[in-house]
Structures are given as structure tokens and as C-alpha cells.
């Protein structure tokens, strides 16, 4: 059963939210979705690039009231 986990990186700066995502990925199952919350626009741009670079699935990015929601699916 896949699930979506929230990775709360609000208030941190690059590469803090990315590092928090990587820790969360290590504790997740293949197929799980992780939703990173970030107030750092640089991380919102950089996390999808990292995801494509290492081969996970990038699902979406949305922004709401200054918080970016970056959704990633673990593939390996």
C-alpha cells in the first residue's frame, strides 16, 4: 500500500529541504509519494532537478501562500 508522506522543510534554505527529502526517501517504500513543503523558492526549483537526475519520479509542484509543495514518487 503506497502512501503520501509530508516532508516539512518550511523555514529552511537550500539544500536543507532536499536533505530532508533524501532522509525521508530512505525510510520510504518504492511507490510512496513524498510531498516536500518549502518556503525556499530555490529548493522548489532544485528538488525537481535532483529527482530527475537520480531517477525518481517528479510528480508536481504547486505554490500556495508562499509555500511550495513538491511531490516526488520513489522508484528505487
Amino acid at each position: 500500500m503506497t502512501e503520501r508522506k509530508i516532508v516539512d522543510g518550511k523555514g529552511s534554505f537550500c539544500p536543507g529541504p532536499l536533505m530532508e527529502l533524501i532522509v525521508a526517501l530512505k525510510h520510504s517504500q518504492i511507490g510512496d509519494e513524498l510531498e516536500v513543503l518549502s518556503t525556499d523558492k530555490g529548493s522548489a526549483n532544485d528538488i525537481p532537478e535532483w529527482v530527475r537526475r537520480v531517477g525518481h519520479d517528479y510528480v508536481s509542484t504547486t505554490e500556495n501562500d508562499g509555500v511550495w509543495h513538491i511531490v516526488v514518487r520513489k522508484t528505487k
Binding site: G11, S12, F13, C14, P15, G16, L18, M19, I22, V23, K26, D46, W50, R53, V54
Partner: protein, 130 residues
Amino acid sequence: MVGQKICVVVISGTLERLQAAAMVASVAAVSGQEVLVFLSMNALPHFVKGATAEAPHEGPMGDLIIAKKVPEFKMLFEQAIELGGARLYPCSMAMDVLEVGSEQLEDYLEEATGLTRLLTEVQDGQVWTF
């Protein structure tokens, strides 16, 4: 290109350069690149046991890094090791000048390394200097 080796040479002891070096090392390491970090000159004293992540800064960005919730450079280097397998080497010359032994340096550092080995290790990779 994922997989290419990089060597991050850190000789500055200022916050901005230590921060930038730690960012490059950590993101490269967690992106699948082999990362070596060589700590020398004014960078090395920050890795003596008990040293904090406080460092003199060069300009206004240093003030902002301290004031805001930016990940500390020492924590980023540790994450580079734990999450990406980076290796941090203390410069043997800097250790001699500082008069510190391996046991006085942070436990996550590798063995003392000289320039000959460093040059051999990096001949097939990129070198980033801070």
C-alpha cells in the same frame, strides 16, 4: 553528469566559503557523484573536536546565514558523508602546523592526506576550490 568524481578543496575559514563548499559537497554526494573534500589551511581548525560551526564572515551574506535558518556547514558535510558517501580528508601539512593529531579531529574525517595522494585521487575528476 552523474557519477563524475569531484574534489572540493577548502582552504578558507570564512563562513561563506565553508557554507558554499558544504553545499556543493552535500548535493553532489547525494546526486551519486563520488566526492572528496580536502580540508586545509584556515578551514581545518573548524574540524578540530569541539569547534562549532561559528566562523568569521566576509560580508552581509554571512550575517544573513547566521540570522536565518540556513543549514550549518558542519551538518551539511556530515550529511554528505552519511547520505552520499563523501570522504573528508584533513591536510597533513595543516595538521602538522596546527600540532593536532587525528584523534583531535572530528571522528568523521578520514586519515591525514598529503598533496601527492590528493593529486592522484583527483586526476580523473573536477576540482572545486573554496
